[in-house]
């Protein structure tokens, strides 16, 4: 091969930056099916996140607490503004709303059991409240969603708090899409739908249309429950500063902000990847809004969307959140994307099942198919056996316990006896993007992009 041929050979295989493999596959798929991709899980793209922040452990100017002897409180109280029965949690880590329908009944029961043992709350989802989860959850937050599937005043009365879901981090402004294969007889009954059809859920509530109406909707739920239960308002992160202010004005006790890394059972990829802002940016805007209204600490803030580790929790609390909610991390803890599952004490490989879905362990985002190889996001009775409540609860308990241990360890290192004493002063940013979004100084400097001089 002469020099010229050699160069031509490489040019001939040069890819296009604008039309790489991914975008080509997207175009081929759209042209073949006339359908956008619908999938589960959260964004695949990398966005600035809690890994881009570091905690400033104590040294000489601050005094750390002894990790293994000195106590660090994690008690968390939510809903102190109007509710006569606020929520009292042992840890500031809660389980985000995930529906029965998206998840199996075994999984819902696992969530309830683990949450109860650790003194935290779990949350219902789009399919309404199941008997299993009410029974297994000491503290259960009942979601009032646009679809109002299975929404029932008896369940409202049985709940410990009510969460009005306006949007989700994975798809602000969009409704859900549960494909027909997951509409089993039980799911169909709970949602008043024919079995096996594609369920397109509404993107907005049927009986109110804006912030002025929301004031009255919240009052309705308060009147209905005799002003006992905290009312949460959950928004997908977009114009978070204004949304949080409006939620405060509407009378929310607790505001849940879900960033773009938040997961979903099934929605269009174009939403997951292209709508919403990162959790880091949303958290800062939410705290700004509360401080602007002088409501920090009076209205509690829960942040969700890509909270995975105890370090994430510590950083979220330091930035101003009162608690976090975890969805996707919980699914991983249960065994999502694991290459094996345990049935009757025997470990079985799930590799063939992943392969049949056209994927592999570690790369799966096929929750929408209902064929979850490890039995989590399925309504198939046999697949659901792959995760029994005992094992699920145990794994989840271990995960949440680990997060809490990491959280308290880091808080002590910053000299705090209470995780809620973590503060912005305990943080620095590792990248300029994260520094600008979180409005924190770049590590080793006093520089906050957009706010101070280098």
């Amino acid at each position: 091969m002469n020099d010229n041929e050699h160069i031509l050979k490489h040019i001939a295989k040069e890819g296009s930056a604008g039309y790489d493999r991914k975008i080509m596959d997207y175009i081929h798929n759209a042209a073949t099916h006339g359908l956008y991709e619908i999938r589960g899980m959260g964004a695949k793209r990398a966005v600035p996140n809690f890994d881009d922040l570091v905690l400033l452990g104590a040294s000489l100017s601050r005094y750390p607490l002894e990790g293994y002897r000195e106590k660090c409180s994690t008690k968390t109280i939510l809903g102190t503004r109007f509710a006569s029965k606020p929520i009292e949690l042992e840890i500031p880590i809660t389980i985000a709303g995930m529906s029965f329908g998206a998840l199996s009944a075994n999984v819902k029961e696992s969530l309830g059991r683990a949450a109860t043992e650790l003194g935290t709350s779990t949350t219902t989802g789009d399919g309404g409240m199941t008997a299993e989860e009410r029974q297994s959850s000491k503290t259960l937050v009942y979601q009032c969603l646009p679809s109002r599937y299975g929404f029932n005043p008896d369940d409202v009365r049985r709940a410990d708090a009510i969460e009005i879901v306006i949007g989700q981090g994975a798809k602000p402004g969009g409704g859900g899409m549960l494909l027909g294969q997951k509409i089993s007889p039980r799911v169909a009954k709970m949602r008043t739908l024919p079995e096996g059809i594609d369920q397109r859920s509404a993107c907005r509530h049927p009986d109110w249309t804006g912030p002025d109406d929301l004031v009255i909707k919240i009052q309705e739920l308060r009147e209905m429950t005799d002003w006992e239960k905290p009312i949460y308002v959950k928004v997908g992160a977009t114009r978070t500063f204004h949304d949080v202010k409006l939620a405060v004005h509407a009378g929310a006790d607790v505001i849940v902000v879900d960033g773009m890394q938040g997961g979903t059972a099934a929605t269009q990829t174009c939403f997951i990847e292209h709508v919403g802002i990162p959790t880091l940016a949303a958290l800062r805007q939410a705290v700004d809004a509360l401080e602007d209204l002088n409501m920090k600490g009076k209205v509690q803030l829960i942040i969700s969307g890509g909270v995975r580790t105890g370090a994430d929790v510590a950083k979220a609390l330091a930035m101003g959140a009162d608690a976090v909610a975890i969805g996707q991390g919980v699914l991983y803890a249960l065994g999502c994307n694991h290459d094996a599952y345990t049935l009757d004490g025997v470990v079985h490989s799930a590799c063939n099942d992943y392969e049949q879905l056209g994927t592999a362990a570690g790369y799966c985002h096929h929750c929408h198919t209902g064929r979850c190889p490890v039995g989590i996001t399925t309504q198939d009775e046999q697949l659901a056996q792959r995760l029994m409540p005992d094992l699920g609860a145990k794994r989840l308990k271990n995960y949440l316990k680990t997060l809490n241990m990491e959280l308290t360890t880091l808080a002590r290192a910053c000299g705090k006896q209470n995780v809620h004493h973590l503060e912005r002063e305990d943080l620095a940013a590792m990248t300029i993007e994260a520094a600008a979004m979180a409005r924190l100084p770049l590590a080793g400097t006093d520089w906050i992009p957009g706010f101070s001089q280098m």
Partner: protein, 229 residues
């Protein structure tokens, strides 16, 4: 004594609702009259007992929301979301109703003697709605189960994205929504309409009504349905 009056000009709404939730049954009260409602929101929400509530005037948002067992009569007009998510019982609006009347109701009967505004019966999950007058656009949107009887006319996009709910209309339909179609009435339709009209206190002939139901062409992904899916 098995009846009581609450005058909202002097008594807070909270007292009325607390009484309906916690004391009415214990005190053997079967009928409550609400005076001077003056458009107050959330009157009798979450009523969960066989108590008759008469609202003597106009009610604001969500009157009788999430009702179970009770019977609420509004002797005036009703605001947004009257009888929203009703489970059972009966709500009768003697005047007109605003938007989203009977939204996502799972059971029970809502009767509106006058007209209703936009999105009447939106996301209906199994309740029955009888409207003496006309309904606004997008009525029955995404209605999953239950029945609507409209004695007057229907606005644009009636029954858009219907699932299994059925709508009966006596007057003109401005336009049908995606996947909705007019179907022949069967004997069981005439019977259903007759029963609902009788329960609502109307004497129209069921043979004057036409049936609107889902064409079911959007129950599964349909690439040729353009923007309708």
């Amino acid at each position: 004594m098995d009846s009581m009056n609450f005058d909202l000009a002097v008594t807070p709404l909270r007292d009325l609702n607390r009484f309906l939730h916690k004391e009415a049954v214990a005190q053997g009260i079967k009928q409550v009259t609400v005076l001077h409602p003056d458009g107050a929101h959330n009157i009798a929400v979450g009523l969960n007992a066989p108590v008759a509530v008469d609202i003597e005037g106009h009610a604001g948002y969500y009157a009788a929301g999430m009702l179970k067992h009770g019977e609420v009569t509004i002797h005036g007009n009703a605001g947004t979301g009257v009888a929203e998510n009703m489970m059972s019982g009966k709500v009768h609006v003697k005047g007109f109703a605003s938007v989203s009347a009977g939204a996502s109701a799972h059971g029970g009967l809502l009767v509106v003697d006058g007209d209703t505004s936009l999105r009447c019966g939106i996301s209906l999950k199994g309740g029955d709605i009888v409207v003496g007058g006309s309904v606004g656009s997008f009525s029955g949107f995404m209605a999953q189960a239950g029945r609507m009887v409209i004695c007057g006319n229907a606005g644009d996009a009636l029954g858009d994205s219907l699932y299994e709910a059925v709508i009966y209309v006596r007057g003109k339909i401005k336009s049908l929504g995606a996947d909705a179609r007019i179907e022949d009435m069967t004997e069981s339709d005439y019977q259903a309409v007759g029963e609902l009209l009788a329960a609502a206190g109307y004497t129209y002939d069921p043979h004057e009504f036409k049936r609107v139901a889902s064409a079911k062409s959007l129950y599964h992904w349909n690439a040729d349905a353009n923007q309708e899916y």
